[in-house]
């Protein structure tokens, strides 16, 4: 084979491999984007359905099993104005199953008519998803986190990667994607999606004026303790709302 032919073969092989790597990265990015949005849609559904969650003596079947998933899908379609993603990757399937498992874990509490406020709010629900996924040992990690100094649940503290990302994006929040990160010392892709502070966050993290417990009360009777028992942070819609951090070990993505 002539030198020219060898060069041609080498360039072709290089281009083919580059194309392959680029296609894999696009696929990975697509998967991580989909699961971020599915996760956030389920949190939105949990927020929107606080009355149903905390109500007594009502049918709550919408919060469980396939009905719950259908409601999350509907929320997704309304929130993002697009079709719900195809369940074409194991990570998406696992996430949907975990959502059903978490809601079932709360079933006895949700049907307990003697308890008013159940404590199943977006933040606790999201943490239960994270905790349950961690037990599955599949290299799929979710965290709803914020800067270290303002975190309520210590188990949601950001790690070094999340801290450095938040420093970079806090002034102008935008999605940060890293295809060459590490998780548990293993190669991983990671994405941090900032969440804008919204009225539903402020019900707990805002000022006493945002606290639903203070509704229809004289200002002198207002409390700065939110419904979950934490002191409110006095944040406004202009504050940094933290974000959803999702990490997937590459070996997990490649093996599924």
């Amino acid at each position: 084979m002539s030198n020219q032919s060898k060069l041609f073969v080498l360039i072709t092989a290089y281009l083919f491999m580059s194309f392959q790597v680029s296609a894999d990265n696009t696929k990975m990015k697509g998967v991580i984007n989909d699961i971020t949005k599915i996760y956030m849609s389920s949190m939105t559904y949990i927020f929107a359905n606080q009355p149903l969650i905390n109500q007594k003596d009502v049918d709550k079947s919408e919060l469980f099993g396939d009905k719950f998933l259908e409601n999350v899908k509907q929320t997704y379609r309304a929130k993002y104005s697009e079709a719900f993603p195809k369940e074409d990757h194991f990570a998406k399937k696992i996430l949907l199953q975990t959502m059903v498992e978490v809601m079932d874990d709360n079933k006895e509490l949700l049907y307990d008519n003697d308890i008013g406020f159940k404590g199943v709010i977006p933040a606790t629900y999201a943490f239960q998803i994270s905790a349950k996924l961690a037990t599955k040992g599949i290299g799929l990690n979710f965290k709803f986190t914020r800067t270290n100094s303002n975190i309520r649940n210590k188990l949601n503290r950001p790690d070094a990667w999340e801290t450095s990302v938040m420093k970079k994006i806090i002034a102008t929040p935008k999605i940060f994607y890293d295809e060459n990160a590490l998780l548990n010392g293993k190669p991983a892709i990671r994405q941090f999606t900032p969440l804008p502070m919204s009225p539903f966050c402020l019900a707990c993290h805002g000022t006493p004026a945002d606290n639903p417990l203070n509704a229809n009360k004289e200002r002198s009777q207002w409390t700065d303790i939110d419904i979950s028992g934490f002191k409110m942070e006095n944040w406004t819609v202009d504050d940094f709302g933290g974000g959803v951090s999702i990490s997937i070990e590459k070996s997990f993505l490649e093996s599924h």
């Binding site: 469980f64 099993g65 396939d66 199953q97 059903v100 498992e101 809601m103 079932d104 874990d105 006895e108 509490l109 049907y111 307990d112 003697d114 308890i115 406020f117 159940k118 404590g119 199943v120 606790t124 943490f127 239960q128 994270s130 905790a131 349950k132 961690a134 037990t135 599955k136 040992g137 309520r152 649940n153 210590k154 188990l155 979950s228 028992g229 934490f230």
Partner: protein, 244 residues
């Protein structure tokens, strides 16, 4: 000649089928520990979800399975002596006990309260600071509890958990630390009327399916492989969440 060949092939097939069947239709004894709502001795055991999940998997492998209800303390002894082949569900306190590769589920510890004192979110650890909380003295506690200034009252003895729950019911404790509140906080338990439990999410203990040291390695491999395939197709926790 063709007919003879056909007869030979048919006989060969029947012989192979016969030996395959006898190889996998061996009997297997499975010990069960009361662990509601997964295994519930207070009702027909065939209705327990963990029984159903594992029975279906083992039966599909051709095993003739016998299930035996066992008291918690005796169960591990029976397993270690090889009087039963499998034991479930089992938190792994004894490292020498062999198990199937992955946990079947995870138990999450929590606090049980009289309903009027219920605290739903335990990551609000400051709310624990002024409480008197009963704890069984043989359990390791979660940091959220040990780091709090709650007054911890340690209970000794094997029945510490049941005594602690009773003392909480009578108002002697503000709360009681339970290693697995799911076993008591459910509508079939009369305690459900008075007590409610919340969880220390993020601190869980894996619960396993244990196997006898005497179980032949080829049988172990067969069961373990079937178990992994079953979990992958549908995890037990998902199966449990979708039960009728």
């Amino acid at each position: 000649m063709r007919v003879i060949n056909a007869i030979k092939k048919t006989c060969g097939f029947l012989i192979i089928s016969f030996f395959s069947f006898t190889a996998t239709s061996q009997s297997l004894s499975v010990g069960l520990i009361d662990y509601p709502p997964h295994i519930n001795f207070d009702e027909d055991i065939s209705k327990s979800p963990l029984y159903q999940y594992i029975n279906k998997m083992l039966s599909a492998q051709g095993f003739a399975v016998t299930f035996i209800k066992l008291p918690r303390k005796r169960a591990s002894v029976e397993l270690l002596k090889g009087r039963i082949d499998i034991l479930m569900p089992l938190p792994l306190n004894d490292e020498s006990i062999k198990t199937l590769t992955y946990p079947i589920f995870h138990s999450v510890p929590g606090l049980c309260f009289k309903k009027q004192n219920f605290i739903p979110i335990l990551s609000a650890t400051h709310r624990l600071n002024t409480l008197t909380i009963g704890v069984p003295d043989n359990l390791s506690l979660v940091p959220a509890l040990t780091d709090s200034t709650a007054s911890l009252v340690y209970l000794k003895g094997e029945n510490a958990t049941s005594r602690g729950m009773e003392m909480t019911q009578r108002g002697r404790f503000d709360a009681f630390y339970h290693p697995s509140p799911v076993t008591v906080y459910h509508r079939k338990n009369p305690l459900y009327k008075e007590l409610a439990c919340s969880y220390f999410h993020g601190y869980s203990t894996p619960i396993y399916i244990a196997v006898a040291p005497t179980l032949p390695s080829d049988v172990f491999a067969l069961i373990n492989s079937a178990y992994q395939k079953t979990l992958k197709a549908q995890s037990y926790e998902y199966y449990f969440a979708n039960r009728e």
